[in-house]
Amino acid sequence: MPAVNETPEPLEIGQLYSACDPSEFDFETTADLEPIELPVGQERAVGALQFAIRMAGDGYNVFAMGPPGLGKQAAAMELASQEAGRRPVPSDWVYVNDFVRPQRPRALPLPAGQGRALCQSMDQAVDDLQSALKASFESEDYRNRTEELEAELKERQSEALRTLGEEARRHGVALLHTPGGFAFAPLSDGGEVIAPDDFAKLPADERKRIQETIRELQEKLQALIRQFPVWAREARQRIKALNRETATYAVGHLIDALRTEYSELPRVIEYLDQVQADIIDKVALFVGMEEGEGPNFPRGSIEDPLQRYRVNLLVDNGGLEAAPVVYEELPSLANLVGRIEHEARMGALVTDFSHIKAGALHRANGGFLLLDARDLLLQPLAWEGLKRALRAGQIRIEEPERMLGLFSTVSLEPDRIPLDLKVVLLGERLLYYLMQELDPDFDELFKVAADFEESVDRDLSSAHVHARLCAAIVRRNNLRPVSRPAVSRFIEQCARIAEDGAKLTTRLGHLGELLREADHWAGEAGRDTVEPMDGDRAVEQQRYRAGRIHERVLEQIRRGILLIDIDGERVGQVNGLSVVELGHGRFGQPSRITARTRLGEGEVVDIERETELGGSIHSKGVLILSSFLGSHYSPEQPLSVSASLVFEQSYGMVEGDSASVAELCALLSSLSGLAIRQSLAVTGSVNQMGRVQAIGGVNEKIEGFFEVCREIGLTGEQGVVIPASNTKHLMLRQEVLDAVAAGKFRIYAVEHVDQAIALLTGVPAGEPDADGNYPVASVNGRVRARLRAYAEARRDFGARASSSSESVTDEQ
């Protein structure tokens, strides 16, 4: 680098692009490479993930943070799967009916695989019980005994009525059946009911006697009829006892078989005891329906009366060989903690234990659950539900409607299930810091952060690892093999994405997109392997697809609507550079920056800030300019200048300080009266000492100005001035490199604003002598002279104003 007082030379072509030499690799295509699955350069993050995944204890859940495309999910999935392989397969869980409190279904754990077996056993038992009970209750013995009991009651009633009827007969009265009951009627000698006329002819005493007799008989009949329900109840009790005896005999051996099968599981045995008691109590459910023509309810329907004995298999880990690793794509509350479904029946919503559905927490219990933090936070109540489950160490199925008070019908409160799992949240850094800042529970529940790097140092080793990453992506996506030169081109592109020739991006999402699209273009061209031109085409096509606005901007500059000069000289006017990001599109755009100066009180007016179009960082950069002017040119007298700065034809937000070198140069041009070459554009920030500092998007900015020049016409005088510290970031496009190689475009790297102003004006900035004076003809000398003149004028103006004021006072 030249000294700050020397005008720098343009950068060499080799400084503009850090190529990857294919000869450094010893493979022909990616088919020869061993793929690598874990992300590279992420030792810190991978270590944190491993620690959290293996660390026992509450709260050692982990937040894997970083921008999308770093392979966070793949790494977490891989590490969790490795650890899961060392852990036992967790229990199955089933929900069964609580026969005493059906609204509180009971959760039963079973060894993996036995949940399904219990389900099938109970289904079979229900079918078998139906047959066995029907057989018992249709047996000759049972029928005889019930008919005996019925006949006994019937006989008891009939006998009582017959006895009463005989007593009535003895008194010359008949017991008759009416449509609604019974009646007593006096009989004639012929055995028929006496006619009204004949009755009227009877002596009064006789009539009275008959009526009293009938009254007495009616009272006895009433007493008798009131006894009938009591007798019927007694008979029912005896039949019920018979039913229990019959059912116990029929059910016992079937349930005993199940007890033997599950003898190691006391909670299942307890459940089977309750099943047996309930079946005996509700035996009519089984024998009340004909086989094959019973109620045609689908199995699992809430209307199926035998549903109460079936088993709801909530979690079936029978097919697993290791602990589960679950990624839930839609982490709603219901998908996390499970849900209770309802059936519409007769206009009402009803439910039972069989309608409980598992959530991701159930499925991942005993293993690992991966969730996208943003998706989780976007789902109402989901984050709170997850926290509650982790804090309590158990899964409670919550119905959002009930939580919000929208649903007040009778529902279920299933047993809570103990929870033992690790949660891995995946998300961007901003989310992590916001959650940490705003949620007091977050640190307690997510004690580990795995911070993923966005780039790694570029060397031969990392280049080779990236080549293996390419091979992994190719294999995973079943793409064409990528040739060695094409791999080199992709690695160069990784450096470009990292915005640093000495780094390689770890955002594998971008690399994956490029590889897939290059594969597509190779296919279009009929090639079996992906070659460099396919990679170039993929990059070009991405830029083209996103380039509509960029092209409109270039068109407006070409047509003179957006005013950008790329030749000639102007005082107080310079080409600044900015980066526009819209969707997938990202391009550099030159902007005209102008400065005007006059006598004043030392303020530099940032018109962008005054109109609220400038961000705070931009304003900071402008304030630094004031400080630089004062300390550099006017340290011993007041800075008596008033300056204004503006981004011409800018109607949107201006943010960042990367234009501060350009703004300073425009101010110095205005103060010195020296014109600035419009063939150059400037980018870089500046500090109070005039040192030029690195900025972002240097490649896009250079390419943006190059494209404008190319559109209007390259003259060989054009170029861009960049901070020297950005030189290592250069990864310019081939057409820019070609133009530089042909001497049609130049890139200058500067360390100090003196170098920039010297390049722009063609006049040396000027070094101060021993007294601190600059050469008169130098830029700095001219600026200082102008500022002194302003200071003197201000002093004279102040003296005149003071004298005039005193004269007025004296006269008064």
Partner: protein
């Protein structure tokens, strides 16, 4: 074993209001459909009841509650009319489904007398007596499928009765119980050997003997067997009715008389 029963052109169903009237009507319609016979339904109302209602102090004790209620003739007649209409509709419903021709009439007589008088040319007479109190207990296995019981004394009417009994048993899918007088051992032997030697015969046919031949004994035995239908030769029933020895039938039992 039994002579062929000529297809009757007319079946008489005589019944009072019973709790199982719907089932009774359905069975009678089924028999008539199978025999392609006309079904003459005869609802017998107790004439004594109407007389009682005319008495100034007449009242009834309600079956369900035991409460007493005044009984007057107009109300009773209206009740009987409504009940008759309801039963007629039930019969029409059952008959139209099987395309059986029916006639409907109501008489106010004693059941036995009314039936015999109205039987006319009917070759089969079905009778159902009034039920007593119902047994409203839960009895899951009860199917109500007792056997068909028939009295067989060797007469021609008894031959036809046996034939009908077997037909009804086959129709209902139940066993046949033949009751024969113990005093006629040849008849009993003939029945038993006939049942045993018939290779394609009904294995569920059982033969029981009865010491006496009174209708009350036959009815008691049928009741003890749990029979829902008792088939009798008509002369036997007529004799009993003439002497006033008609027994009180089982509540759920239907009597079929064969002329």
């Amino acid at each position: 074993m039994s002579s062929e029963l000529p297809t009757p052109r007319r079946i008489l169903l005589a019944f009072e209001d019973t709790q199982q009237v719907q089932k009774l009507l359905a069975e009678a319609v089924a028999l008539a459909a199978e025999r392609r016979a006309e079904l003459a339904a005869l609802l017998v109302e107790d004439e004594n009841l109407v007389r009682l209602a005319a008495l100034p102090f007449a009242s009834e004790v309600l079956r369900g509650s035991g409460l007493e209620r005044r009984l007057d003739q107009p109300t009773l007649v209206r009740q009987l009319g409504r009940r008759a209409e309801r039963m007629r509709r039930l019969l029409e419903q059952a008959a139209s489904a099987r395309q059986v021709r029916t006639t409907w009439s109501v008489v106010r007589r004693q059941v036995a007398l009314g039936t015999i008088e109205a039987s006319g040319s009917a070759e089969v007479i079905l009778m159902a007596a009034r039920t007593s109190m119902s047994l409203a207990t839960e009895s899951p296995g009860r199917q109500g499928s007792g056997p068909v019981c028939v009295y067989f004394d060797g007469s021609e009417a008894a031959e036809r009765a046996l034939s009908l009994a077997q037909q009804l048993a086959a129709q209902q899918g139940v066993a046949t119980v033949v009751v024969a007088p113990a005093a006629a051992p040849k008849i009993v032997e003939s029945l038993r050997s006939g049942a045993a030697s018939d290779p394609g015969g009904d294995q569920s046919l059982r033969v029981l003997t009865l010491a006496g031949e009174g209708l009350d004994q036959i009815a008691a035995l049928a009741s003890a067997e749990g029979a829902r239908t008792l088939v009798l030769p008509m002369p036997l029933y007529e004799d009993a009715a003439a002497t006033g020895d008609l027994p009180e039938a089982d509540a759920t039992m239907m009597i079929a008389l064969v002329r």
